[in-house]
Structure formats: C-alpha cells, structure tokens
C-alpha cells in the first residue's frame, strides 16, 4: 500500500535532510528543545517555508499540486493561530458545520457571535482547530494543539484526532506531552541540532 505522506531529503532552516513516511492512520509525535525547528519542519511540509527536498501525498509529487490546494490537504495549525477579522463568525463561512462541531470540543456555538479578542486562548485554539478540520485535510500538522487547554478539553481534541486517524488521515504533532503521544498511538521522534531521531 502506498504511503499517505512520504518526504525525502527535506532540508531547510530546521536542518535536515529529513525523511518522513506516514501511512493511513499513522501518527508521529515530535519533541525537542524550543528553537530546535519543530515548527519549521511542519511549515516545510505544509510548504509555508522555503526548503529543498521532495514530498509525495498518496504517491503524487507535491510539485504537481498547486500550493493552496496542497495546504488545504496537508494542513498546518500554528501554536498561536492568527485571525484576520475582528469578529469570530466571518472566519467560518460554513456556519452549520462549524456549529455542529463545536459541542464536541465543549464550545458554545454562541461564541461565534463574539469578537475574537473576547475569546480565551483555549477557545481560540479549539476554534482554530475546527477551522482546520472543516477543510478535511488528509494530513494534519499540529503545533502544540493542546498547549493552552485543560485536561478535559485536551481529551476532547484527542478524541477528534483519533476519529480522523481512523478515517485514514495521518498526523504529525509537536508536543511536550509524552502521555499524549502514547494516547494517540504516535511514534515518537526527537528533533535536536537539525536531526530527527526515533525515541
């Protein structure tokens, strides 16, 4: 069976060359000291940062896929995602699907009527996660997705992630939480001094 995501010779600001292979339902957790380039590695895979190397998605070369479409399918979620409207609702053009997902992350749909700056860090993080999920990406690249969340909300995010993995998605997440990696059944890697080593 062809791999979902395979990367060879990825070299950029995070170091490298990195090789990555993920099958359907595979998860990979990356740890490492801050500043080691964990975020940059995710951004390279999402094609947000310049780099060298080849990446295939379901056997198709990224170079043949338009960049916006690639990022829709291989979705990067930053540790502190940005917002580009004052109000929350305009960030979610598909309101019914958004409202349907919100309770599963313990979010009141009424939050959509609030200005973004009124939301707590944890609410913003979960809403940004929903924003990403609504694109139904095949690969999720998550940068400390539960860093700002309490244990309950963290468990809800993990439940949604496991659902996506079962549906055939693949996941790479940056985390400091070893227990989280094992709950998600993720292979663990350590990034330091420009090299990625299995743990």
């Amino acid at each position: 069976m062809p791999e979902r995501l395979s990367a060879r010779g990825l070299t950029g600001a995070a170091g490298g060359p990195f090789g990555i292979a993920l099958g359907r339902g595979d998860a990979m957790a990356i740890t490492g000291p801050s500043g080691a380039g964990k975020s940059v590695l995710l951004r390279m895979i999402a094609d947000l940062d310049p780099h060298e190397g080849a990446i295939l998605l379901d056997g198709v070369d990224r170079a043949t896929i338009a960049a916006p479409l690639w990022r829709r399918r291989v979705a990067y979620l930053a540790a502190e995602p940005g917002w580009w409207h004052d109000d929350t609702a305009p960030h979610f053009p598909d309101r019914p699907r958004t409202e349907a997902l919100m309770p599963s992350l313990a979010l009141d749909p009424g939050l959509l009527n609030q200005p973004v700056h009124r939301l707590s860090t944890g609410e913003r993080m979960r809403l940004a996660f929903i924003r990403t999920l609504l694109n139904e990406p095949e690969i999720l690249l998550l940068d400390e997705p539960t860093g700002a969340l309490d244990p309950h909300a963290t468990a809800l995010v993990e439940t949604l992630l496991i659902e996506r993995l079962r549906a055939g998605a693949a996941l790479i997440l940056v985390t400091h939480d070893m227990a989280q990696a094992s709950r998600l059944g993720a292979r663990r890697f350590h990034l330091e001094a420009g090299t990625l080593t299995p743990r």
Partner: protein, 263 residues
C-alpha cells in the same frame, strides 16, 4: 500682462528676512542660526543651478535630453521612496518597487496630459514635459512611500493572520487583499485632503505662482484644477503600484509569505 521680473537686488532685500531668523536664533539660543544660513544658501544655489540647467535644456530642446533629465528625476524619486520605509525588501526590492511605482505614475499621467489637455508643439516640448513630470514625481513619491511603508510594516504586524489563511488554502493574493487595500488608502488620502482644502484652506502653489506671474486668476485656477486631477491620477497609480510591486516581492512561486525577504 507682463510678469514683474526680479533683480538680484530684490532677492538680497528679501534675504534680510532669513538674517532676521538667524538673529532670532542667536537671541533665543535656538542654536539654529548656522543651519538656517546653510539651508538658505543651499536653497539659493540648488535653485539657481536648476534654473540654468532648465534654461539650457529648453534652449537645446531635443527629445533625448528631455527624456534624460526626466529619467534622472525619476531615479532620484525612486530612491527616496525606497529609503522612507523602516523595513527594507532584500535584493533592492524597495528600490525596484519605488522606482516602478513612480515611473509608471509619472509617465502615464504626464503623457496623458501632454496628449490631451496641454498639447504643446511638439508634444514632448521640454518647457512643458519637465515641469509636469516634476510635479507628478513629487506627489507620486509621497503616495508611493506612504503606501510602501504601510504595506511593509503591516505585513510584519499581520504575519500570523496572513499565514493562518495560507495554511487553510487561501491564495496569497486573497490573504493579502485587506493589507493592500489599507496601504493604497494610506497613499491616496493626502491628495483627497489636498483637493478638499484647495482654495479654502490653501491657495495651491501653481496657481499662486501663475497669478503672481500675471496670469488671469480664472485661467490660473483652470491650470490648477487640471494639475489636481493629474495628481489624483498619479497618486492613485503610485500607491497601487508600490503596494502591488512590494507584495509581489513578498511571495514566490509556491504562494508563500516570504518575510525572510524583509530586513
């Protein structure tokens, strides 16, 4: 009506006012007297040089020389636009964006005016082309530098918002649209203020100069209105040009946001 021609003696009398400024500076301890005198001297020398240069260029009046003078003016204006913003694009990005914006704005509006309203014979007559290009450049410079500065400082401020959209599969040009809009607005607002205030708050320089030179006020006003409209066009083109040329430099073939090209 003949203009009243000034003699050097007239200017020397007027220069007593500059000396008055210097005396005020000494009396109040402003420490500006040297600067005032140097600035006045620079002003005199620079303007006399340009006066003689223009007299020479008008006398020769060949298209190549006229174009050459205008190109030098465009290059200096482009450099000024590039120097104003705090942030600089790598690989001469500011210079290229600034130069392209002011050159486009100046040539489009100046040629438009020479071909339609003014129609001198020949249309590239240096007496018309050079002053016209000068006014357009001065304003286009202002609009382009405001727009460029707004875009370059805004892109750093809005970086995470723009990248969040890119990460969701939004096209670069769509993610940049609000910022480009804000930058162009910033570049165009001054000419709107100038047009609104003209004749009420201020008597614009061109018109004032022509009235002093003996032209009928209504004729002078007609010239001023034409120039205002040309300036509105030049400012719009310069502001849009600077924002788009700079935005193009901030991305690549994979529609990334390349803030690494900003120093």
């Amino acid at each position: 009506m003949k203009p009243i021609l000034l003699t050097p003696f007239d200017l020397i009398i007027a220069s007593s006012l500059v000396v008055l400024d210097a005396v005020v500076s000494v009396l109040l301890g402003l420490r500006l007297h040297k600067q005032i005198l140097v600035a006045a001297a620079r002003c005199t020398i620079q303007l006399l040089l340009i006066g003689f240069l223009l007299r020479f260029v008008f006398a020769i009046d060949t298209p190549a020389l006229t174009l050459g003078v205008i190109l030098v003016m465009v290059a200096i204006a482009g450099r000024e636009v590039a120097a104003r913003p705090e942030k600089k694009l790598a690989r001469y990005g500011n210079q290229i964006a600034g130069l392209s914006a002011v050159a486009l704005a100046t040539f489009v509006t100046a040629i438009f005016a020479l071909a339609t309203a003014l129609r001198p014979h020949p249309w590239y007559d240096a007496r018309y082309a050079i002053p016209l290009a000068g006014i357009m450049l001065g304003n286009a410079l202002n609009a382009a530098s405001l727009s460029l500065d707004a875009l370059l400082s805004g892109v750093m401020r809005e970086r995470s918002a723009i990248e969040a959209q890119l990460a969701l599969g939004t096209r670069f040009r769509d993610a940049m649209r609000p910022l480009i809009r804000a930058s162009v607005r910033r570049g165009i607002l001054p000419i709107i203020n100038t047009m609104s205030a003209a004749g009420i708050v201020t008597l614009p320089g061109i018109m004032t100069g022509q009235i002093l030179a003996g032209l009928d006020p209504v004729e002078a006003v007609k010239y001023q209105i034409l120039l205002m409209f040309l300036l509105a066009g030049a400012n719009g083109i310069a502001a849009v040009g600077a924002a788009y040329f700079a935005a193009a430099r901030l991305t690549d073939s994979r529609e990334r946001l390349r803030v690494d090209r900003l120093k």
